[in-house]
């Protein structure tokens, strides 16, 4: 009996030690969220859904706005549509910030909408932020335990894979359809897609079909809009708040305009709360999209630079 107990204890220790080592290997290759849960509290945040996660690169905001710790804390439509869950996460993330912050909130018709017949609480319970209390720990055991659905051996495997994929990026880009992604140390989700024109067109068709379907399934949500306003109020007490509408493919824009024609009038009610609103839909940028919805990283660079410059200009104009 004694030997059985010893064996069990040794096994337990081996398993625990292995997992401890694996947890320390977790980083931006682990999944598309983990890295964002490990960043230290910052006064400069980019918020929104996947459009912002892939479309706004903190590096350029740091450069142009002469800041040094911009972070991308945007997730996906499912996880970070404006609502109580995202509000509480941002509140926790910024609890040590009193002033001097700069917050960029990406908005679009979908992140203030809700599936018909569902409450936002039931939808947001599937958010990756739901049930997480710590957003600045590394390793973030809470996230790995609650939200990472794979065995932790995957963490090591994905670290290993990073080198292969990055080393052969050119080959993959030219010969392979599909994409791979990695979260940068500042939370920016960099997607390495194939730009094979046929494949991109097929992905666009799929995206447009999916969003056409959404127009029948979703509806503008007063509750989400309330939480967006509440979030702006919260962040306004800690610094500057800018709203931005990121560019999308023209077909996508048509779908959005059909879906929520009054989007701009809704947003106009928030303009008194925020410091500025930048509608980049018509911005003179020749954007490339990976699927009609998300910006290609080179276009994201241009859009980020453009937006940062606009904010800088706005700040300067405001100063004078």
């Amino acid at each position: 009996m004694r030997s059985v107990i010893i064996k069990i204890v040794i096994s337990f220790i081996i398993v625990l030690a292995t997992h401890l080592v694996l947890a320390f290997l977790a980083n931006g290759t682990t999944d598309q969220y983990y890295q964002k849960f490990t960043l230290k509290s910052s006064p400069n945040l980019i918020l929104g859904t996947s459009r912002a996660s892939q479309g706004l690169n903190p590096v350029f905001f740091n450069d142009i706005l002469e800041e040094n710790d911009f972070q991308n804390f945007a997730f996906t439509l499912k996880s970070s549509s404006y609502g109580e869950v995202y509000f509480n996460a941002v509140k926790e993330k910024t609890k040590r910030i009193d002033s001097g912050g700069c917050f960029i909130l990406s908005i679009d018709p979908w992140c203030i909408s809700q599936e018909k017949g569902k409450t936002i609480n039931s939808s947001d319970s599937s958010s990756v932020l739901f049930g997480i209390n710590h957003f600045d720990q590394k390793p973030n055991f809470e996230y790995l335990w609650k939200k990472f659905p794979y065995g932790w051996g995957m963490i090591a495997f994905r670290n290993f894979e990073k080198f292969i994929l990055k080393a052969n990026y050119r080959y993959f880009n030219e010969n392979v359809n599909g994409s791979f992604a990695q979260v940068a140390p500042d939370g920016y989700l960099r997607v390495y897609p194939s730009l094979d024109s046929l494949f991109v067109v097929k992905k666009e068709i799929r995206t447009f079909r999916e969003y056409e379907k959404k127009t029948h399934q979703m509806v503008f949500s007063e509750e989400r809009f309330y939480y967006l306003a509440k979030l702006i109020d919260l962040l306004k007490s800690k610094g500057e708040v800018y709203l931005v509408r990121l560019p999308v493919h023209k077909t996508m824009l048509e779908i959005e305009e059909d879906y929520l024609a009054g989007f701009n009038s809704h947003i106009s009610t928030l303009l008194t709360k925020a410091d500025g609103y930048f509608d980049l839909i018509e911005a003179p940028l020749d954007n490339v999209y990976i699927d009609g919805n998300h910006l290609y990283s080179e276009s994201a660079t241009k859009v980020s630079q453009y937006l940062a410059t606009e904010i800088k200009r706005f700040r300067n104009a405001d100063t004078y």
Binding site: V15, D31, Y150, G153, M154, V176, G178, F199
Partner: protein, 479 residues
């Protein structure tokens, strides 16, 4: 409660220790414990449907008692008919009503008549297809004189609700399982060891193989329009492994769990992808269901006797019924038709070859090619099984065979998992191949204890480090 859940990891040892430490040598108390545990196990999913199991059990128990004393053959037949009617009605209402009503409506619409019929939109009770078939076999077997009815309601309730096989089989015959509830069980270390090995292997198949492949299968089948032919082939190939590991993994855990309590369940899978032809495949795949249909549908219809037309008709009926048993969807019906066609085509061209062969020489090139060919045609059939609609299935096939970019490689995300999923599949297939003469690949009695335990540790570590622990139900729960 799912076998691959944290709740079950607590539940199983609790019931096990109570069963052997508290109620050892008290058969009746053990059976009551099994009933309570089984109802808790099922009620964890949705307690409202416990009534259905109870109704099905009480009806068949009462009919069994009725048949015990009844000699009038007409009344006996009526009683069995009543049992079948009640069980099939439960199935019909909860599983097929909406399907047939919608079908009728569409048929009438085709002729320009819009009939006003309502669908019920009922939730499909988990496992209903399994336990109704199990209880039906009880009354049919009594009627045929294959077994005597039990007088013990407790034994019967325990037999119907026995949690290891309640929701996804194996579909046990009353003549095999029920007597085990009527005899005393003694703790058997060999059963414990075999049971644990089966549970470990079943969990590996489900959590590591099936759930990891499911990620790509879902990705490909949900977006098949955008992928190349090669990627679609990979999707179908992966689904073959997913469904096998998902379902046979469940069966292994079920059989292993039953062994822990001293019960032997029938084998449900026998390395089906090493089948040398389609007949062989159906002797190795979902054995409890195929043998059920053989005994209760095919043979009563006349089996292989009679004219060629009758033989083929019987085969067609069995496969079509088997298809529709899997779900109320035209895709399953078509899958059944396809297998009937395979079976009949095989019979046409290979008279006499379908005889059972216990030893197969795979080193023979012809046999090897037949094995690969059988796997490929089965894989083709799975496309119908997995697709949401017939329209999707045919479009998938069209894109698979006629895409402009068949050989274009496509990275599927998560990427690394894609690589290791294939490595795992290769390792898994080799291990099963090496173990194909064993009941379970983890039966390693020929190895020294150190080697044996090393293998167990490796499998265990593979589960906890490379398994998928998201909430993935077993596929066959839907049937």
């Amino acid at each position: 409660m799912l076998f691959n859940s944290f709740e079950f990891a607590i539940f199983l040892p609790l019931v096990f220790f109570t069963y052997w430490l508290v109620f050892n040598n008290h058969r009746r108390a053990q059976n009551i414990l099994i009933i309570c545990a089984s109802y808790l196990f099922y009620g964890w999913w949705d307690y409202r449907f416990l009534g259905l199991i109870f109704i099905s059990s009480i009806v068949d128990y009462s009919i069994g008692i009725f048949l015990l004393n009844m000699t009038n053959s007409k009344l006996r037949k009526m009683a069995v008919f009543l049992s079948i009617l009640v069980n099939l009605s439960l199935l019909g209402i909860f599983k097929y009503y909406d399907f047939f009503v919608s079908g009728f409506r569409e048929a009438f619409l085709f002729f320009g008549l819009d009939i006003n019929v309502r669908t019920l939109n009922l939730i499909l009770p988990v496992g209903i297809s399994f336990y109704t078939f199990q209880t039906m076999s009880y009354t049919i077997d009594i009627h045929k004189g294959k077994m005597k009815p039990t007088r013990s309601l407790i034994d019967f309730l325990a037999f119907v609700s026995f949690f290891p096989q309640l929701v996804a089989g194996p579909i046990e015959r009353a003549s095999s399982l029920l007597p085990q509830f009527s005899t005393n069980r003694k703790f058997n270390i060999a059963y414990l060891s075999k049971g644990m090995a089966l549970i470990l292997w079943g969990l590996f198949k489900k959590i590591v193989i099936a759930d990891n492949t499911a990620i790509y299968v879902n990705q490909i089948f949900d977006n098949y329009e955008i992928y190349s032919g090669l990627t679609l082939f990979i999707g179908a190939f992966l689904f073959s492994f997913q469904i096998y590991c998902d379902f046979s993994g469940y069966s292994d855990i079920a059989i292993g769990s039953a062994l822990l309590f001293g019960f032997e369940l029938m084998r449900n899978f026998n390395y089906p992808y090493f089948s040398v032809n389609i007949v062989d495949f159906w002797r190795r795949w979902h054995i409890s269901l195929s043998s059920w249909f053989r005994d209760y549908v095919y043979i009563p219809l006349g089996g292989g006797r009679g004219t060629a037309f009758k033989k083929n008709r019987n085969i067609l009926v069995v496969f079509v019924v088997s298809g529709i048993w899997h779900g109320a969807n035209w895709t399953f019906l078509l899958w059944g038709f396809l297998h009937a066609a395979y079976y009949q085509a095989f019979g046409l061209f290979n008279k006499g070859i379908a005889k059972r062969r216990d030893t197969v020489n795979y080193s023979n090139l012809g046999v090897l090619l037949n094995t690969i060919g059988t796997f490929l045609i089965v894989t083709l059939g799975w496309i119908f099984f997995r697709s949401e609609t017939i329209f999707d299935a045919f479009n998938y096939l069209e894109s698979l065979f006629f895409s402009d970019t068949f050989f274009k490689i496509e990275i599927l995300t998560p990427k690394s998992q894609f690589i290791y999923t294939f490595l795992l599949l290769a390792g898994f297939t080799l291990f099963e191949w090496y173990s194909r003469h064993k009941y379970c690949p983890l039966e390693l009695n020929e190895l020294s204890p150190i080697k044996r335990w090393s293998v167990y540790y490796v499998v265990f570590l593979l589960i906890i480090t490379f398994g998928y622990f998201g909430k993935n139900e077993f596929i066959y729960f839907a049937f």
